[in-house]
């Protein structure tokens, strides 16, 4: 599954034992693909001395600050960006 800018996606809610770069506060949260950064080696295997291949596509995903933190006060358009690897993203119907 590959994603395009503007597409709604959800960060997988799964647990993961070991090193990974998907922050817990975003798991299960929906956002929108802002940018495709390209393919990068996988930190989940690279962290343990492997070559990190195959490369994984990395996306910048934008989230509504109010959706993430309902108590958020500020502009309705306030957003949070995070970079999330493709295998942590799911399509939102």
């Amino acid at each position: 599954m590959t994603f395009s800018p503007g597409q709604r996606v959800r960060v997988a809610a799964r647990d993961h034992q070991g090193h990974h770069r998907t922050p817990g506060y975003l798991k299960g949260r929906a956002g929108e693909v802002e940018r495709v950064h390209g393919a990068f080696t996988d930190p989940e295997t690279r962290a343990y001395g492997a070559d990190g291949l195959p490369r994984r596509t990395l996306y910048r995903v934008g989230f509504s600050q109010r959706e993430l933190f309902p108590e958020h006060e500020g502009a309705a358009g306030d957003r949070l960006y995070a970079d999330v690897f493709e295998h942590w993203l799911e399509e939102v119907a």
């Binding site: 950064h37 930190p43 990395l58 958020h72 306030d78 949070l80 960006y81 995070a82 970079d83 999330v84």
Partner: protein, 211 residues
Amino acid sequence: MSGHDDHDHDHAPVTEAEEPEAARRARVLEALLAEKGVVDRGAVRRGIDSLVSRSPADGARLVARAWVDPEFRERLLADARAAALELGLDSGPSPVVVALENTEDVHHVVVCTLCSCYPRALLGPPPDWYKSLPYRSRAVSDPRGVLEEFGLHVGDDVEVRVVDSTADIRYLVVPRRPEDTEGLSEDELAALVTRDSMIGVAEPAAPPVPA
């Protein structure tokens, strides 16, 4: 060691016993890796030297050039490494540096909630507060409150974009050019671009008042 306790200044002694645990582990690991031929001590030293020789003045040169040269600004926002190379600054192939521009409508602020990712190749080592747990957690849960604590009020007519550097990208904020700086040279402009303004927790310094 005799005599040290005789004199009257009260500096803390610098001894092996005072070495922080993390530093001790790093030193022992480096020694082991060097012994096994995995790393070369000279290369480690050169890497450290290279990183600590970078400073916010490097990033400030990029920002000032972007302020005075709209075409350079475009190139910086499109490909920060290529633009930096034009000024003789090499941010390296990895991690990738991306520049984000603040405008009258959008204010970016950068954090790394997972550790301390920072565009070291262009700004040097991050400030201690950037690595602190309170900043790392509250910058995402209460960004406007954190910015207020830094003395920066962002009005509700401006959208705040918190950028969590979670993976292979390092973010450099291009702050807005201060007003009343039309007559300043590029070097004078660069002097206004503070480290904190390139993280997004402050505006650049105000221009000096003409004598």
